[in-house]
């Protein structure tokens, strides 16, 4: 019916996402002619600042890529170093790193569910506005978020940019009395997290089934966080070292936005993909609760991502309780490591999906080059695909407001973190000087840096062995 009507939907600032992005949508003759999820946060060029750095500076600096998931960056980095140097951390440190990661999942998921996503489903502008009608639910959410923060601070000193992790383990092991107090709080919180899941299951979420490839990690014994292989619903089963052979990041011709493909196709990372690929690693009663609510796994409805977050939040509380219940303070919270040459790739499950790092190190263990692929840049192609399908199915002849709010809601399902995605970018400036940046192929960038053509860019001696220039 829309005939030759042209609708342009511009969302210049996306609210309730982390970082700053925009949505541009044009519809002509009842078809989408332009659809761009634009990211205009300026590039922060992190890989450059890491060159020449020692391991601890890398661990402290990568955290600054994202204030919401600093633990994820530190976990991918520290374990890449330990792999490169053949360091075997003690079981205590392995367990406590899982607890630390649980803290970040709890914090990030609670923040997204309550402050970013839930207002969509209940029709509010913000969580504080929602609190007038749903005070108990919002307060419960903020309490759970606070608990996640406390759990991070127990091992990291503070929740944002924690300071506790080092190669070989931790700098410091918390006193048993503090751990015991935390166990008490976790026991109270698990009841609240259960009630949260029940509440979300009654929300009556929209249904929009789509075909997409799920990508997540997979560990033989546990729900994945810190270690494992990369698997997909298209039967991939990859060592993280082989990431670049199957995952391609590239700039799409129609926009400056980077897309990532798995063997040529868009894919999903994050809580729903993890749940879809690892449901068998969850306690049976959790998956039964979903089945009782009519949710079958694997789910093809992206609106179930809020449910997946609540499931993981409850799981993370139980997992932290399990790992802290017999807490013994070790004599020394780390094992020694000898810095040296080499390199390694590692992947962990950030709250928003797989976070892949690769490091190349010189003979003193200083960084020669780094490549980091965050979840949001991986999801970008899938978000645009979802917008195209979802908006079309919802009807392109709706008014601008309806299209805009559905578009924003679809984007928020992915909990995009634009600070993460812009840690390192190529950019173009438009007429008003605003940088339209495109998440660009990092591998391509690194190759171009290392090629003769651009060798002056690096303070590297092209005749000798590669040596890291001093840490910026």
């Amino acid at each position: 019916m829309s005939g030759s009507k042209r609708i342009a939907v511009k969302v210049p600032v996306l609210a309730r996402v982390e970082g700053e992005g925009a949505l541009d949508l044009a519809i002509e003759n009842g078809a989408i002619t332009e659809l761009k999820l634009e990211i205009y946060e300026p590039p922060r060029l992190f890989e450059k600042f890491l060159e020449g750095c020692e391991s601890q500076a890398v661990i402290d600096r990568v955290a600054r890529i994202c204030g919401i998931c600093p633990v994820a960056y530190q976990m991918s980095a520290v374990q890449a170093y330990e792999k490169a140097w053949g360091v075997e951390v003690a079981p205590w440190a392995r367990d406590m790193r899982r607890v630390l990661y649980c803290g970040e999942w709890i914090q990030s998921h609670a923040l997204h569910i309550h402050l970013l996503a839930a207002p969509d489903f209940l029709g509010f502008e913000s969580a504080t506005a929602m609190a007038r009608d749903y005070p108990d639910e919002v307060r419960r959410g903020l309490r759970l978020q606070g608990l996640g923060n406390e759990l991070i601070a127990l091992f990291g000193g503070r929740a944002v940019h924690p300071i506790g992790v080092r190669v070989g383990g931790f700098h410091h092991a918390p006193e048993p009395a503090r751990v015991a107090a935390m166990v008490g709080k976790l026991n109270e919180a698990r009841v609240e997290a259960g009630a949260l899941l029940d509440w979300l299951l009654t929300l009556g979420l929209p249904t929009d089934e789509q075909d997409f490839i799920n990508v997540a990690m997979r560990h033989p014994q546990e729900y994945p966080m810190n270690a494992g292989r990369i698997v997909s619903s298209a039967r991939h089963d990859l060592d993280p070292e082989d990431f670049e052979q199957h995952f391609q990041e590239f700039q799409a011709p129609h926009s400056t936005a980077l897309h990532a493909h798995l063997d040529g196709r868009p894919y999903l990372v994050g809580p729903l993909a993890r749940l879809n690929l690892n449901a068998d690693q969850l306690p049976g009663d959790l998956t039964q609760r979903l089945a009782a609510a009519g949710i079958e796994l694997p789910s093809r409805n992206m609106y179930h991502s809020i449910i997946a977050r609540a499931v993981e939040l409850l799981y993370a509380i139980d997992e932290a309780l399990r790992l802290l219940s017999d807490y013994q303070r070790p004599d020394r919270p780390y094992v020694d490591a000898t810095p040296g040459p080499g390199g390694a790739a590692w992947v962990t499950e950030a709250p928003r999906g797989i976070l892949w790092h690769r490091y190349r190190l010189d003979d003193q263990g200083r960084v020669l080059s780094v490549n980091i692929v965050p979840p949001t840049s991986q999801n970008q192609a899938r978000i645009e695909e979802d917008l195209r399908l979802g908006l079309t199915r919802g009807g392109l002849d709706r008014d601008e407001d309806a299209l805009r709010s559905q578009g924003e809601m679809i984007i928020r399902n992915y909990d995009p973190c634009i600070s993460c995605a812009t840690h390192f970018l190529r950019g173009r400036s438009d007429a008003d000087g605003r940088t339209r940046t495109a998440i660009h192929a990092q591998t391509e960038w690194l190759l171009s840096l290392l090629s003769d053509r651009n060798s002056s860019i690096l303070s590297m001696d092209s005749t000798g062995l590669p040596r890291a220039k001093p840490c910026a």
Partner: protein, 260 residues
């Protein structure tokens, strides 16, 4: 809604950053609801409030200036705000991304950017005070909830906010933390760094890395001498000063002494 118009208006603006300092608000827990009852938060994109051009009593600004568009935005924010408060290392001192200011920007920016005429605006990451007057600076990477709530209360009560200028060393003494430099020979920036974090790193048995920036009257010469005595190489020494708060005068200068 009529009663909300009488409340003081607050905005939270973001420039180039990790979003971590805005979390000082979002991580308040239930106090966030108390705050939103006390003040009218009119712009805070991550929390869902969008009114970037509103006139406000207090504007909190996160992030550093990196583009020409940023410069226009910050001028407008300044005009619309009674008090402008920077939160965190990026807004106050340029932050970690300001390390680009030390690089040979021309060489690699021309390899990166497609539109060279805008390169000037992108060659450096600058603190907010490089463009507009700042009424209050809150240091830290990140700032914490205590700092931002303290600033709100002080400004709205007409009281000059108390600003920490002590060195981390003083906080270690107050917390009865063992000095990592004296006891273990671990390099620590505590003697020249502003406190406010609660001496987190020394209490976790590691050296401070200066995320709260320089303290009042920092004696960097003496500290560098200590670091040399501990066996740090020039490039390791420079890394101590040229980190998160590299664009502060004392740390820029102290680090530059060890540049090759």
């Amino acid at each position: 809604m009529h009663e909300t118009t009488a409340k003081p208006k607050v905005a939270v603006h973001k420039f180039s950053s990790c979003d971590g300092c805005q979390l000082a608000f979002l991580d308040m827990g239930e106090d966030l609801l108390t705050l939103s009852a006390m003040v009218d938060i009119v712009h805070f994109a991550e929390a869902g409030m969008l009114d970037a051009d509103a006139t406000v009593d207090v504007a909190f600004v996160e992030g550093s200036l990196n583009t020409r568009h940023d410069l226009k935005r910050i001028q407008a924010i300044r005009r619309n705000s009674r008090f402008l408060v920077t939160i965190g290392a990026c807004a106050t001192a340029g932050g970690l991304q300001a390390l680009r200011n030390f690089t040979d920007a021309d060489a690699w920016h021309s390899a990166v950017y497609a539109t060279p005429e805008y390169l000037d605006s992108l060659a450096t990451a600058s603190p907010i005070k490089s463009a507009v007057h700042v009424d209050l600076e809150l240091w830290g990477c990140p700032v914490n909830t205590r700092q931002v709530t303290g600033a709100v209360r002080a400004l709205l009560s007409g009281v000059t906010p108390a600003v920490e200028q002590d060195k981390v060393c003083m906080e270690c003494k107050r917390q009865q933390a063992v000095c990592v430099m004296v006891a273990k020979g671990t390099p620590c920036m505590g003697p020249v760094t502003r406190t406010g974090c609660g001496a987190l790193c020394p209490r976790f048995e590691r050296g401070c890395y200066a995320c709260y920036g320089p303290a009042e009257n920092p004696n960097t010469d003496s500290l560098s001498h200590w670091f040399e005595g501990l066996g740090l190489l020039p490039e390791q020494l420079r890394e101590q000063y040229h980190g998160i708060t590299s664009q502060t005068e004392p740390f820029t200068a102290a680090g530059n002494r060890y540049r090759k």
